[in-house]
């Protein structure tokens, strides 16, 4: 894979002195899906806006397939599609006309078969002659995606594509993203929904206070930072943890009716066998055994907390 987007020391500060981006460095490979996670005001949208030309960066450089976004903005922007966070559409325009307009604006000649295929893929073909104001919120989001795809971009930015969208439509969006990836489109998405990043991203970037805290392969990140817990539910509650079971990895559940054991899945010995034999030796009667893996959300919260500390 080759690098399609290269961000070097990108900074953006405002007149009041607020630094929205404090020297962001990021390389994105062609064909991957990278999710940028971050709390509100972390700088996710500013980063996307600076790359796409909506906000003027204070310093730093960005290249798209080798084209600088400042000195060679035409070539760079032609490769980029942007789906903004806010649903911004001309309310009285027909769906098909607004998508055709987007293609023309990017300097591409009309291509009705392509527009038709985009609209069909996004389930908008039946609504092509409707005015945008007649569409539902979910449909409007699809129109934004259709507009962004109309000029056949190689890099697609999705700024919180599923914010305020119902569960069903969110799943639809994920399928659309998967289709686009299959076509070789590189996707950079920002999201509040960590499950979204967990479900569709190849890599995760965590951004807070204008800085990238971490960029890592999703699976490696979850394996590295993810912890597993074993909950041994007991038939009768305990007042205190028996001496033979006391360890930094074992604690008593809130109601005293369970033992919670934290372990590392990558370790050679997880210690589960010993724990269970110790439990049996104490004469405790088991009701059930449950295991849990920490989610990306737990990892994210840990990272952001560490950064704040």
């Amino acid at each position: 894979m080759s690098t399609i987007l290269e961000i070097r020391d990108l900074k953006k500060s405002y007149d009041g002195g607020f630094e929205a981006l404090k020297g962001v460095n990021l390389s994105i490979e062609e064909g991957e899906i990278i999710a940028l996670l971050g709390p509100n005001g972390a700088g996710k949208t500013t980063l996307i806006s600076a790359i796409c030309g909506i906000v003027m960066p204070t310093s730093g450089s960005v290249t798209v397939a080798g084209h600088d976004i400042g000195t060679d903005f035409r070539a760079a922007r032609t490769l980029i599609g942007l789906v903004p966070q806010e649903v911004a559409l001309e309310p009285f325009e027909k769906v098909i006309n607004t998508v055709r307009f987007s293609r023309g604006l990017f300097g591409k000649r009309g291509n009705d078969p392509l527009i038709e295929s985009i609209l069909k893929r996004l389930s908008l073909w039946d609504k092509r002659n409707n005015q945008i104001k007649e569409l539902s919120g979910g449909m409007k989001r699809r129109v934004l995606i259709a507009k962004a795809l109309a000029h056949e971009p190689r890099v697609l930015f999705l700024d919180e594509p599923t914010a305020g969208v119902d569960v069903e439509l969110r799943k639809d969006m994920w399928e659309i993203v998967a289709d686009l990836k299959a076509d070789g489109v590189t996707i950079i998405l920002t999201t509040h929904y960590i499950e979204e990043a967990e479900a569709i991203a190849d890599r995760i970037g965590v951004i807070a206070k204008g800085e990238i805290l971490l960029v890592e392969d999703k699976d490696a990140l979850m394996q590295r930072m993810g912890k597993k817990e074993l909950e041994v539910q007991l038939s009768a509650p305990l007042d205190a943890l028996p001496a033979s079971l006391q360890s930094e990895h074992v604690r008593l559940g809130a109601d005293g009716d369970s033992l919670i054991y934290t372990y590392d899945t990558r370790a050679e010995r997880t210690g589960i066998t010993k724990l269970l034999s110790d439990v049996a030796a104490e004469g405790l009667v088991l009701r059930d055994v449950v295991t849990r893996q920490s989610s990306l959300e737990d990892i994210f919260v840990t990272l952001v907390k560490e950064d704040a500390a």
Binding site: G53, R74, A76, R77, L82, E90, G104, G107
Partner: protein, 253 residues
């Protein structure tokens, strides 16, 4: 130049105009007809000829200019303000287009609409007065330049405005008085000397005078001065727009 983008912007804007074609057409025709009835027939019948031209005919160039200037400003300002207001400006800013292409697309469409209205008023005028255009080429030139320059001016207002009130502020408080006091309905020579001198600071005087010259061969100021005035105004607007796009003032944060 990204001609495809310019064409897209132009066509998109003109589609909006034709979507409300009847309103766009009826309003200027009705208001012009009213002006002809009130100023031409009712009051004009009691006014002697102005510099050898019947009063009803004399006000035609001023009436066309009045509409063309206000239409140019409102179309030019609304064209760019609306995407700012509803947020669709993001697409324009992220597209591979430069400022010149954006301006040609939006201002071109705004000027076309203004010219359309100007021509409709001219046609309406033929139903009310006996009109003969002495210099048709100059008339078209002045019409085009005025449409373009006032659409450019409107474009600047559209970028400057932060809300709908501001969008109306400049046209209502500055442009309309200047146009009314710019000799739309009278010759500057009819004013007392002091007011004649003051009027010379009103840029609209030069435009209306030049346009009227194209119709009847009579003018308050020399035709060359009128042309220079409109060229200077257009140049100034272009400079301001160039600066806006270089600095990103009120469009790129």
């Amino acid at each position: 130049m990204n001609w495809t983008a310019i064409k897209s912007i132009y066509v998109f804007e003109m589609t909006r105009f034709f979507r409300t074609f009847l309103q766009s057409l009826i309003s200027p025709v009705l208001s012009t007809s009213l002006y002809f009835v009130v100023f031409g027939a009712a009051i004009g019948s009691r006014i002697n000829e102005v510099e050898g031209v019947s009063y009803a005919a004399f006000i035609v160039p001023g009436l066309i200019m009045l509409s063309v200037m206000t239409q140019g400003i409102s179309n030019g300002s609304f064209g760019i303000y609306f995407p700012k207001f509803i947020g669709t400006i993001y697409e324009l800013l992220s597209a591979p287009v430069n400022f010149l292409e954006i301006v040609v697309g939006y201002v071109g469409a705004a000027a076309t609409k203004a010219m359309f209205i100007g021509i409709i008023i001219l046609i309406t005028a033929f139903f009310f007065v006996d009109l003969h255009i002495m210099h048709p080429g100059a008339m078209v030139l002045f019409l085009v330049l005025t449409c373009v320059s006032f659409s450019l001016f409107g474009f600047i207002i559209g970028i400057w405005a932060k809300n709908f009130e501001q969008l109306q502020l400049v046209p209502l408080l500055i442009v309309t008085p200047l146009v009314f006091l710019g000799g739309s309905f009278y010759s500057i020579s009819m004013l007392p000397p002091v007011w004649q001198a003051i009027s010379m600071f009103n840029p609209v005087v030069y435009l209306i005078s030049g346009f009227r010259w194209a119709f009847f061969g009579i003018a308050d100021v020399p035709i060359g001065t009128s042309l220079m005035a409109i060229a200077a105004f257009t140049g100034l607007c272009l400079l301001v727009i160039g600066w806006i796009f270089r600095t990103g003032w009120r469009i790129r944060e």
